[in-house]
């Protein structure tokens, strides 16, 4: 597959909403270990609000409009720090995609990288801080290395992110609520890296069909 279309992007959001809802208990369990235990509930609330807006017929004429709507909705409904982070991420995607109906693999990679930079800037996080950045950064590297079709690029991203999320366990948290735990944060996977992996997994899923 050469292009991610508006319809697929819409399916991506729907798929993310369901996979987040399915995995909410798991995400919250991870968050209970090193945070305030609400990541699953927060993300579910956010994406449920997004899907409701879309099914209620919010107008999204292009990828830019779609992602902007997702971003604004997440900002106002997630509640935790992932609200501004994922919200800002999608707003940035929206800005990059203004007026666009499709993205090829290269453009998709560039757009996601820009979103990653927004997360890093906003959260003041670097790789190794035990955050969603630890899942998204290697995923984008993997996309760059993969062949120039959307199906294999997103599959590479999803697999790498899944793996990277697991590898956040031995890291020492330096950002957010988890950083209060210091050494005790070691040994638990980061919930944000996990939700990011789910998001990229959902993307690979719709690009595979």
């Amino acid at each position: 597959m050469d292009q991610l279309t508006l319809a697929q992007a819409r399916s991506w959001i729907d798929a993310t909403a369901s996979v987040i809802a399915e995995n909410a208990p798991h995400l919250s369990e991870l968050d209970q270990a090193i945070g305030d235990g609400d990541h699953g509930a927060n993300m579910t609330r956010g994406f449920t609000a997004v899907v409701k807006k879309l099914t209620d017929g919010a107008k999204t004429d292009d990828l830019g409009g779609l992602f902007k709507l997702v971003g604004m909705t997440l900002l106002s409904s997630v509640g935790g720090a992932s609200g501004p982070l994922y919200g800002g991420f999608f707003l940035d995607l929206g800005k990059q995609c203004a007026g666009k109906q499709t993205l090829d693999a290269q453009a998709l990679t560039a757009v996601l990288e820009s979103g990653l930079n927004d997360i890093k800037r906003r959260g003041k996080a670097e790789i190794g801080d035990k955050t969603m950045v630890d899942a998204l950064t290697p995923a984008i590297e993997a996309m760059k290395a993969a062949s120039h079709d959307v199906t294999s690029a997103t599959r590479a991203a999803a697999e790498t992110a899944r793996d990277a999320a697991t590898k956040t366990a031995p890291l020492l948290a330096r950002k957010g609520r988890a950083s209060y735990l210091g050494e005790r944060s070691i040994g638990h996977e980061d919930p944000g890296a996990n939700s990011m992996a789910l998001l990229l997994g959902a993307l690979a899923g719709v690009c595979h069909e």
Binding site: N42, R45, L75, S76, G80, G83, P84, G88, R122
Partner: protein, 837 residues
């Protein structure tokens, strides 16, 4: 004015902080909540879009300091600024400051500075310094703000003042000081001469707080500048009012500390705590009450559960008592907090976990230890809380031992109770018929028990350290004077007859005054005036009945809503109203639908920030915007009023169609109840407050829609004279006897009488004998007054004739201001004026 925006994960938290701030700087201060997430922002989290919406008006206005709790609150606030920027809002950087200071301390410090008219940077700086006072208090030095040495020129003028505020220059008086100081150009510094702290700028709340000026400390103001003369004068005036705390503080001048142990002639001495003279046999309170007995412990798990159940049960009972809004409610709310204090509860849990101990024994030991540490505090106010804790501990112990609530304390034959310290729940249990008085070795007039005894009218002397309870219990006659703190044991017959004479005189005075309280109030020329009571809770209802009110001219329902964080259900409203109605005697009861908004915002109902809340969405205006809530209020009134002659009154009615719309709401409420087969009262009279000048000016248009009018003199005065009720600078314009207001009242009386529309006055003016006389002279024949003023107002009415009063009112309307009116009234009424307040 610079505003404050509170960004928090929790709306409840932010609303509570907002309340703290408003308490400090007044209800009109722009402090806005941007907190919570989800529907109505009731879930925990932050919402960047919401924050941006809240911030936007401040970008167009004077700007705001944003205070945030933690984590996503900071991220969301930053994101909100980006959203505003993306929307092209100008001046964001100049108008908005995200401030890293701790949210509670900073909110208070920043608000005071902002209210004083400081710039955005100055407000933000003050907020950042907000931790300094706490650091200094905890002995973490290095935090005192240094101020530069005074510049040259004329030497500063000084003013030395001894702090008389019971709790020192604490936050509220300090805030009043800072606000006053900010009006002057002069350099004003403050030094605590007693402790050597300072000098500090008197413009900084934090600086003033750091001086830790306690009661008895001498402080020095150094004032230098062209307006120093006026500044010194105003400072002197403010200090004379105890920095604005003068009236609403319970006096502790005769505290246990300052009273010598040396007995005066006649007997031992104590501290006056509740007025009145008691003569009778002494009885140890302990003899009337028994300590609950311990029992064999179960497993640690069982005992822990038993303790938690007992704590929950007592907390529920307290929660129940705490809803009636009176003084007692505040006491119980403070006690409820103690029940969930982790230091106490966890210590008791730990003791239980060690095994072999009952929940009762563990609880008793730990609560005694915590109460002991309160009792050892230096601060008298904190020490007084030891009694609260002991009291709540006994309640929990009784539940643990399977006993029910404290039974009535009713000695037979009647007696004066002797105790170490009277606990609040014991005070509540005292039967005023048989408990002649109370003499306690410890306690203070500011303790909750003393407040309750004053309400019950039982004389009490506390802090009588020098007495020996065992010896005293053996005497045959004990006498106490709760107004002077005097105590006599087995007084000689000469002394006893003097005490009896004193008591007789006091009782006769009161009796003459109260004897006629249940008789109708008729003027000298035979004109009857109805005297009703204003009631705000169940205690008022009892007082209204006992003081001879002929009905209730205003039942405020705000108590149902103001203290709640969640909207009460229709059933809850019905029950709370029914409880108040049950305490009332016969006669009509005018129930006003919630007058919310303005100075009485609700925690559970989002309201837009208003520049001028008294001119904003309040009263009926607010009710119309929340039709579901309004309908539940009306249904609750109709249901609760099944057995009562209930009238429904709407506040803040401005145009006639509002009155008819409100009628429609009431009729719908009736139809809905009827459809559901719910018993309720119908028909009822439907009327309105006349407090908006529009309603006063065109009263005849409303008389077609309303069955009755009640004039709210406080608001009518504030709106006619364009002088806000709470503004201390405008006192001369807050008097309802102003000729302009009297003219309006006269006009309303005429229109109401032409339309045969019942008219009453329920504002504060009706409770003031002088103003009441002018109201009657203006044609008013029904007054609704504070419950404890019923007898006094009736007495006033009986001393005058309507002919005199009509002439007086006619002349008063021709005066230029309220001062002239009062002077005129005093001349005309002279000795016929009852107890001028």
């Amino acid at each position: 004015m610079i505003g404050i925006v509170l960004v928090s994960h929790s709306k409840a938290l932010a609303v509570a902080i907002r309340e703290l701030v408003l308490q400090m700087v007044g209800q009109d201060f722009p402090v806005v909540v941007a907190a919570g997430v989800g529907d109505d922002h009731l879930e925990i989290g932050t919402d960047a879009v919401h924050i941006a919406e809240v911030l936007q008006p401040f970008c167009d206005g004077d700007g705001a300091v944003v205070l945030m709790d933690l984590g996503s609150a900071v991220l969301s606030a930053q994101t909100a600024l980006e959203l505003l920027d993306a929307e092209g809002v100008a001046d964001i950087a100049d108008k908005i400051r995200l401030c890293p200071a701790p949210i509670v301390e900073a909110a208070v410090a920043a608000a005071v500075q902002a209210k004083a008219g400081a710039t955005l940077d100055a407000v933000a700086d003050e907020a950042r310094m907000a931790l300094a006072a706490k650091e200094a208090q905890l002995g973490i030095e290095d935090s005192a703000p240094a101020i530069p040495a005074p510049t040259g020129g004329e030497p500063a003028r000084t003013l030395d003042i001894v702090i008389e505020n019971p709790h020192g220059l604490h936050a509220r008086p300090a805030a009043n000081l800072v606000q006053l100081v900010s009006r002057f150009q002069s350099d004003i510094r403050l030094t605590n001469l007693t402790s050597g702290r300072g000098p500090t700028s008197a413009r900084s709340l934090t600086g003033v707080g750091l001086l830790q000026a306690r009661k008895g400390d001498m402080v020095r103001f150094s004032v230098q500048g062209f307006d120093e003369e006026t500044a010194l004068q105003r400072l002197r005036e403010l200090a004379a009012t105890r920095f604005g705390e003068g009236e609403d503080t319970i006096p502790v001048a005769r505290s246990a500390e300052t009273r010598p142990d040396v007995p005066p002639s006649g007997g031992a001495a104590g501290v006056a705590a509740s007025e009145g003279i008691a003569i009778g046999r002494p009885l140890r309170l302990a003899a009337a009450l028994t300590e609950p007995a311990d029992y064999p412990p179960g497993t640690p798990d069982d005992e822990r559960r038993r303790l938690d159940d007992a704590l929950r049960r007592v907390a529920d009972e307290i929660g129940h008592s705490a809803t009636d809004g009176g003084d007692a409610a505040k006491i119980f709310a403070a006690q409820a907090l103690m029940l969930s204090d982790p230091i106490l509860v966890e210590a008791a849990h730990a003791r239980i976990a060690q095994g072999q101990v009952s929940a009762l024994a563990a609880w008793r030991a730990e609560s005694a230890s915590v109460a002991g540490s309160y009792a050892a505090m230096e601060d008298e106010y904190l020490r007084a809380r030891a009694a609260d804790l002991r009291d709540i501990a006994v309640r929990v112990a009784r539940v643990l031992a399977g006993e029910t609530q404290t039974t009535k304390i009713s000695p037979n034959p009647p007696a004066i109770l002797l105790t170490d310290e009277l606990l609040p729940s014991e005070a509540m249990a005292c039967d005023p018929q048989t408990v002649l008085g109370v003499l306690a070795r410890a306690g203070s007039p500011t303790a909750h028990a003393a407040i309750i005894m004053r309400t019950l009218g039982i004389p009490m002397v506390v802090g009588a350290k020098s007495i020996d309870p065992e010896a005293l219990a053996a005497v045959s006659v004990l006498a106490i004077d709760g107004a002077t703190g005097e105590v006599w044991a087995d007084p000689e017959s000469v002394v006893l007859s003097e005490i009896e004479r004193r008591r007789g005189a006091a009782l006769a005075e009161r009796a003459a005054f109260e004897k006629a309280r249940h008789d109708p109030a008729v003027t000298l020329d035979g004109c009857g005036v109805e005297v009703l009571a204003n009631v705000g809770n169940a205690a008022d209802a009892t007082a209204a009945r006992e003081n001879g009110a002929e009905g209730v001219g205003l039942l405020r329902t705000e108590f149902l809503y103001l203290t709640r964080t969640e909207m009460p259900t229709e059933d809850q409203q019905t029950q709370a109203l029914a409880a108040v109605l049950a305490n009332l005697g016969p006669g009509p009861v005018v129930i006003r639908t919630p007058d919310i908004g303005a100075d009485k915002p609700l925690a559970f109902m989002a309201s837009a920030e208003e520049h001028n809340p008294f001119l904003g969405v309040r009263g009926l205006r607010l009710s119309f915007r929340h039709p579901g809530f309004f309908a539940s209020n009306l249904r609750a009134i109709l249901r609760a009023g099944l057995e009562t002659d209930v009238w429904i009154m709407f506040p803040m009615v401005t145009s006639p169609e509002e009155m008819s719309q409100a009628r429609d709401f009431a009729e719908t409420a009736h139809r809905d109840l009827e459809k559901g087969g719910v018993p309720h009262r119908w028909p009822v009279k439907l009327g309105m407050m006349v407090e908006v000048p529009a309603a006063a000016l065109m009263a005849e248009r409303f008389a077609r829609q309303a069955d009755f009018f009640s004039i709210g003199t406080n608001d009518l005065t504030q709106y006619i004279l364009a002088a806000e009720r709470g503004n201390g600078d405008l006192e001369s314009l807050q008097d309802a006897v102003h000729p302009a207001v009297l003219r309006a009242i006269r006009a309303i009386c005429d229109r109401a009488s032409e339309a045969c529309c019942h008219l009453s006055v329920c504002g504060d003016a009706a409770s003031d004998p002088l103003a009441a006389a002018l109201l009657i002279g203006s044609g008013v024949r029904s007054l609704s007054v504070r419950p404890n003023q019923v007898a006094a107002i009736k007495a006033q009415i009986r001393r005058v004739s309507t002919v005199t009063l009509r002439e007086l009112a006619d002349k008063a309307r021709q005066c230029d201001n309220s001062v002239e009116v009062r002077q005129l009234a005093r001349e005309v009424l002279a000795d016929r004026l009852h107890q001028i307040p």
